[in-house]
Symmetry: C2
Subunit: 352 residues, 2 copies
DNA sequence: CTATTTCTATGGAACGTTCCAATAAATAGG
DNA sequence: CCTATTTATTGGAACGTTCCATAGAAATAG
């Protein structure tokens, strides 16, 4: 009651000092849990803080120490469950380590990305993680945040750019998926979704081609169907996939949401996905296992990869020696019911 | 080149002043776009800033002005697409208005929630939005952030608590959904998912009961199947829903992911959802329309509601007169293919 | 009993802004 | 030419911390 602060006035370290009958330096020491202050004194200070409702002002501390616990998290499309899961993995790791993330969802808009990067930088983050928007010019990132800020890129590799990168092994994941389709008897296997301008698409396409080449199967451009990585785009492309005399009997999709959109549209067109037609996705988002049919997919261990990316950034921030520059996470094929098996067609009736 | 800063040294307003041959006050004026500074001077200052790579230090400014552009965004479960969409709506509105959100995903953990609230507060946010974790004691929120910080709660109403609230009209949404099922001929309609301890569940249950009572249909506790709001829980409860001689022919689910989990499990048990069995969800998440069968659901206009919640918070922060204290968004029934129509059963064969 | 060491505690400068009061320069009015 | 007014610019204090250099007290050593 003695030194109750006026309304609207922040309680500061000085108020605490006055109340506890010590100097502000001592209060600061208590805050840092320094062994230099006597137990009894610490008690008194702690009591005063509780009594006056003190809240630590990290902004002021940052100003003095030039070291912040804020980090940036720039996500290209939070509406895609894959990136939501990435964000959760990042957030969790940051939370554990006492870092606090600022969130920006760029919605695949490179302009907005530049904008938020600058804004995040102004807020004095210690570093940031970015899953770059489609069409990002790597130079714009350094332009926006300056040459010294720790930045790690994730999930989408940027070309001609020295940023540390954390992402899944797209090529071998795609290769395993296509090999599985081949083993089931598929001979014409499409690649659906993504744009070849995206490095992730190219890596997955490479894996797709690897497997086809190894099996001596066709891999012409006619089997590649680029689209935006969305459910709607996956649905729209269905007609094109089904068209023509040499239509594929299976498809590896750029990611799970494209696969799910495609499956839905194929079903509407009478295709029996899981039997006459095989579809494999990529990412293993939560809804993959609850899809009808449950979606075979390549797990990128998204959450774990997010945690790794966060760790790399924090190593960079804390100046640890030899932080990893390039982490490629293993992938795992998760076989469920959507891959189909065309050689069984004879013992079934083909749906018109 | 003249006054190039040393490595590791931040470029400050003072460096700019020196380079441009003006005082730091003038530079500050330029920063604020004040009309007090002559065009020619402004030019010189701007040039110096570009040349030296100046970046505004919001932290320092906050310290002086005690007004920050940071806000907190505390989300109960970002892995649920519904909350991801909420987060996107919030982020978008904040971005537009020049606020920068800190993200915390509490993962329905009330302890962690208290923890992050305190941490967010320490970072000097101007206010925060919270979708409270299941089991939140309202008092813990004010305890963590003090009595003065603007806070708005969203999507889950807290009882015995004066926080402003923004959320959908759960009761009338549920009522409309159940009325639709009744019109299709269903007579035994279950409510699946959520816990009656959650206000949202209770509101939706009320709507369910309203419609059943109005039609003179049963609404006993035997028709209510509480679960966690997850896909997995929706799947697990399927057996219980189907059990007994008086099993329901339709269900209104707590939300879409419960509905999707339930549908999948029902399908595995031979139930023909959309024909012999009707399911309606709540939220209209993106995957609802791509589900098999496409899910009938109650749209909460999540993104828009998020934007509204952000607006309310910003009004509070800026001290606008009479900010709304309670915003209830309208809901809309989106009819797709999952609701079934049992009176058509005679003209079809029931799947065992 | 003095000199040294160990424990605790402290004052003050610094971090990068903003903003007020003050000033200098330019223009206008008489 | 002097005063009043407007237009541009400025120094310095303040915001809430941290941290360094220093100091007083208590304990130990010689």
């Amino acid at each position: 009651m003695v030194s109750e602060p006026g309304p609207g006035t922040r309680v500061t370290i000085i108020d605490i000092a006055r109340d506890a009958g010590v100097s502000k330096s001592t209060v600061s020491l208590v805050l840092k849990n320094s062994p230099l202050v006597k137990g009894e004194t610490r008690e008194r200070v702690l009591e005063a803080m509780a009594k006056l409702g003190y809240v630590y002002n990290r902004g002021a501390a940052n100003l003095r120490t030039a070291s912040s616990r804020l980090v940036g998290m720039v996500i290209s499309d939070l509406l895609n469950p894959f990136f939501a899961e990435l964000a959760v993995g990042l957030e969790e790791a940051f939370y554990r380590a006492g870092f606090v993330p600022i969130l920006a969802n760029t919605a695949e808009d490179a302009i907005r990305q530049t904008d938020v990067l600058r804004s995040i930088h102004e807020h004095g983050v210690a570093g940031l993680i970015i899953s770059p928007a489609i069409g990002t010019d790597p130079a714009t990132i350094r332009d926006a945040v300056g040459p010294r800020l720790p930045v790690v890129s994730t999930m989408r590799r940027l070309e001609g750019c020295d940023l540390p990168y954390v992402g899944p092994d797209n090529r071998s994941g795609a290769r395993a998926a296509v090999a599985h389709l081949i083993a089931l008897g598929h001979r014409r296997i499409a690649f659906v979704g993504g744009f070849p301008t995206m490095t992730t698409t190219r890596e997955r396409l490479d894996g797709w081609r690897d497997a086809l080449v190894a099996a001596g199967l066709p891999h012409s451009d006619a089997l590649v169907f680029p689209t935006m990585p969305t459910r709607a785009a996956g649905a729209v492309i269905a007609d094109a996939v089904l068209a023509g005399p040499d239509a594929p009997t299976a498809a590896l999709c750029y990611n799970d949401i494209v696969a799910i959109g495609l499956i839905r549209a194929l079903a509407e067109r009478g295709s029996d996905v899981g039997a006459s037609f095989g579809v494999i996705g990529f990412d293993d988002i939560a809804e993959a296992r609850h899809n009808a049919p449950p979606l075979t997919t390549v797990s990128a261990e998204t959450r774990h990869l997010g945690a790794i990316a966060a760790d790399v950034l924090m190593k960079l921030i804390l100046g640890e020696a030899n932080p990893p520059h390039n982490v490629i996470g293993q992938t795992r094929l998760i076989v469920r019911d959507s891959c189909g098996a065309p050689f069984r067609l004879d013992s079934r009736r083909k749906t018109a």
